[in-house]
Symmetry: C2
Subunit: 529 residues, 2 copies
């Protein structure tokens, strides 16, 4: 119960998990000092100078950081060789479609049977408007973008103990919270309790602003009626009859809103990374990876498992296993190396690096997250409930239901049926993929009872079981950040790391992109010296 009455804590905690406590405290300040911040829109004008004649660079990993590194190095004239463990580019920038097969650690294999045109992004699924690095490459490479709907006023906020477990429309809860809080403050002003704090002119302005902000009536009250209905919506709600319900529903009282524990979940679209507009590539997130891989060209060797990285004063050599032809390890050499393998993987690779960098690599654990994509044969969320895109939030272990921001009015659709993290993610990870899908269905049906009748197919990705990443993203503690982060960014001999783990925007593709730009800049400076 205490969990439900303190929702803002968990929301804050999640925000913290996703960035702030992970080092974002100093994120932009440090980014600025490092020259990594781009608060002004990028004009896709990043670029290195000319490469030294014949200089060769080995790039390990073809996720976004590796692809951007290879792309920029090639543009500058470097000879680039890229090794990638998987059979496709993109890493976590990944889209599952019908026909795909995915085998996780432990051997459980899923065959994707989504209908043609349907897809699911198990990794990143949205791009904030100020992630100019990612947006810049989309622009330069012609990756078409469409808006991603984060806040949907008509989607649900759900708490198991709140309102008898009945999902609330975000719009109503938001209007009632804002209205009741505005009324409360308006009363304080009207009762002259702020006479010593605010001038009478500011008090009058505040009352007027609160009327607008809170949809208050002329007397400063938040009441059932047309003014409140301009915010919370009109008339009978879905499921009600056309003429049976009263024209204006009664708003929730302040106590009910507060006691529900749901008020803290109203800030779904308030954080800098979640504000309007957000974007998604048309057709799936991996459009970015595919465009970059196409630009990089044939210099990507897939299914190459790096086992060892050696270097001396003359160059770098990586040993790798060609997974298509098991046998003697192969090796490839170059003058320089950019290594973008996740720290979770690198900690298991033999490397000739400084003890300080080794300590940095070993200091970071990886955040757990599980996503489940569910295909339904009918878009009941649109047809029955008027929900087009956006997110419903819940305190069930699935945490999030995400509705597609594309193909509106199509027959079928794929929902994000679970976005579990932290403890919930470990519980989901312990299940088989089929069990994860069943659990997402069982829990989600508390919000959408249409689930059992309409379900067709599901895919479940537990990131700690992904063979190429062994986790979702680098989970920096503040202590690790202070002790190891600067080291992680430095050239170590002829090698430098890149990836979201080597950025102050962990979990975001922007972190990988900015980190790659940082790495190639540092490498180019040293190679040109």
């Amino acid at each position: 119960m205490s969990r439900q009455t303190r929702p803002s804590t968990s929301r804050r905690a999640w925000l913290q998990q996703l960035g702030r406590a992970a080092g974002s405290g100093a994120v932009y300040a440090a980014l600025t000092q490092l020259g990594l911040a781009q608060a002004s829109p990028a004009r896709a004008d990043f670029g290195l100078g000319r490469a030294p004649k014949g200089a060769r660079v080995l790039v390990l990993g073809a996720g976004l950081a590796g692809l951007v590194s290879a792309y920029e190095l090639q543009r500058a004239g470097y000879q680039v060789q890229l090794l990638e463990y998987q059979a496709r580019p993109g890493g976590r920038c990944w889209t599952l479609r019908g026909g795909d097969r995915y085998t996780e650690l432990g051997g459980a294999s899923q065959h994707c049977e989504f209908a043609p045109g349907e897809y699911f992004n198990p990794g990143p699924w949205r791009i904030p408007y100020h992630h100019h690095g990612v947006l810049g490459y989309c622009k330069r490479l012609g990756v078409a973008l469409q808006p991603f709907i984060q806040v949907n006023h008509n989607a649900y906020v759900h708490g198991q103990q709140a309102f008898g477990g009945k999902p609330q429309r975000w719009r109503e809860l938001q209007a009632d919270f804002q209205g009741q809080v505005s009324e409360l403050l308006a009363k304080v002003v009207q009762q002259h309790q702020l006479d010593e704090t605010l001038s009478s002119e500011d008090q009058a302005r505040l009352l007027e602003a609160l009327r607008s902000h809170g949809a208050l009536d002329a007397q400063g009250r938040y009441r059932a009626g047309e003014i409140a209905a301009e915010r919370r919506g009109f008339g009978p709600q879905p499921g009600g009859g056309v003429s049976a319900a009263p024209p204006h529903d009664q708003p929730l009282g302040l106590h009910d809103v507060l006691a529900s524990g749901l008020a803290g979940r109203l800030d779904l679209g308030s954080g800098f990374e979640y504000q309007m507009p957000l974007f998604q590539p048309v057709g799936g997130m991996d459009a970015i990876a595919r465009a970059l891989a196409k630009a990089v060209g044939p210099r990507i060797r897939y299914r190459a498992r790096v086992t060892e990285i050696q270097q001396d004063e003359r160059g770098v050599t990586a040993q790798y296993q060609d997974l298509a032809r098991p046998g003697t390890p192969l090796s490839v050499s170059a003058d320089w190396c950019i290594c973008t393998l996740p720290l979770s993987v690198l900690s298991q690779v033999e490397m000739r690096i400084s003890p300080a960098l080794r300590a940095a690599i070993d200091a970071v654990s990886y955040f757990a997250a599980v996503k489940v994509g569910l295909q339904f044969g009918r878009r009941f969320w649109e047809e029955d409930e008027g929900i087009y895109g956006g997110i419903s939030s819940t305190d069930l272990a699935i945490r999030t239901i995400g509705y597609p921001s594309h193909h509106f009015h199509a027959r079928k659709g794929v929902l994000l049926g679970a976005y579990a993290f932290g403890a919930n993610a470990y519980e989901f990870s312990a299940l088989t993929p089929a069990e994860r899908v069943r659990e997402a269905l069982r829990l989600g049906a508390q919000i959408h009872p249409q689930y059992p009748a309409e379900f067709e197919h599901g895919m479940a990705v537990a990131w700690h079981r992904h063979p190429a990443t062994l986790g979702c993203f680098a989970w920096w503690t503040q202590a690790a950040r202070e002790r190891h982060y600067a080291q992680l960014l430095r050239m170590d001999g002829r090698l430098i790391l890149a990836g979201e783990h080597a950025s102050l925007l962990p979990a975001w593709q922007e972190g990988a992109v900015l980190s790659a730009q940082h790495a190639v800049t540092a490498l180019h400076a040293k190679a040109s010296a």
Copy 2:
């Protein structure tokens, strides 16, 4: 000055103009009574029964109301003839593209020279998620929809007297208003001024909710720092250097926010009709009209100017002028008639109708609005300012700058450069089209100084000068609504009116669609009797 210090009044006034004072006070209540409200999502399942054998209906006007009427009547088996004044279907559901010519009253003619793929919707430009009538036809007819971005956290709020005329980012003003107000209320709670109003448990919950809502620190303060920056954004703003600015800008104080007069303009996306998500048809609003016209088929006669409508107990006859072949008026007869001409036009047409309906037609004046579309050769709003879609608001006569929600990262783009209404619209209407474009450029350059260098072509539509509508939308006073509205909806002999003017959602396409469904239902009932 008083105008700037009372922004919420003007915002409220505009909301009222757009609906509430125009009759929306009782809008949904009355809609419900009339069976016109569809608070639950439509499953595109509207439909009449079978038409009486051989029954013929004349539909006047091929705007959305006329098209929906014709479409539904034909589906039921009626023989339909449709007369339209213009050379195209859609009426105000209209999109201007390169090659189009538009001649307004008075003879001023504009040739549209927008680049291929560029367009401008001079009439409606957005569809709320709960306008199930419009959405239902989009679904049924396969009109592809994409999200329309209403609120853009990175767009501007601009007041001539506020902050020295410097545009403010919506995000910063919103964060600072919400933060300062939350801090103010938190202080009141902390100082035990609400001990008699709220239980101690609710006070604790309220403090926690305010921390989340207002981005307050643990002590309940809204301060420069990472917590506030999670809302108002990080680091230097566009135009500043990468490392020159402090990492966290100082938030605005409460007095500055209130005295700016801009707080009332923060509710840009709060009203029921402006909440997320909104939609636009891919490629232009007229996609809806074209899809309906295609479904209706060849029974639309264009360039037919209706001059007289007669009826008796046997049928209805309309006289019309074929504008392509000036000469003797032609006539067409049917058993029934649905007349969707705007009241502004109908008041000049000779009609055999009851005095009560004539009085209703004459009782309504039309709202004035002017829209200007401006094509620029470079998307400086995206490239320089990171604004992708959405709206900047200003107290300049242009009132609104709308950024395209599509073709992100394209080279060129068309902005809504002015959406003037009321007194501003009359001023704009008095200018020639070329002067309107110049004025929109002159004023808009106060917000976007790139205007002069990047401008390519503009189109200006003053709705009071549009020959087919003579105004923007029906401007019902409450008195007229009470006295005449019911009469306007009734069958008058063999004739019934439809259109946004015959709805409780004036100005919205949804009003036209619901009104058409109401009209065909009433007609069918009478015809079947």
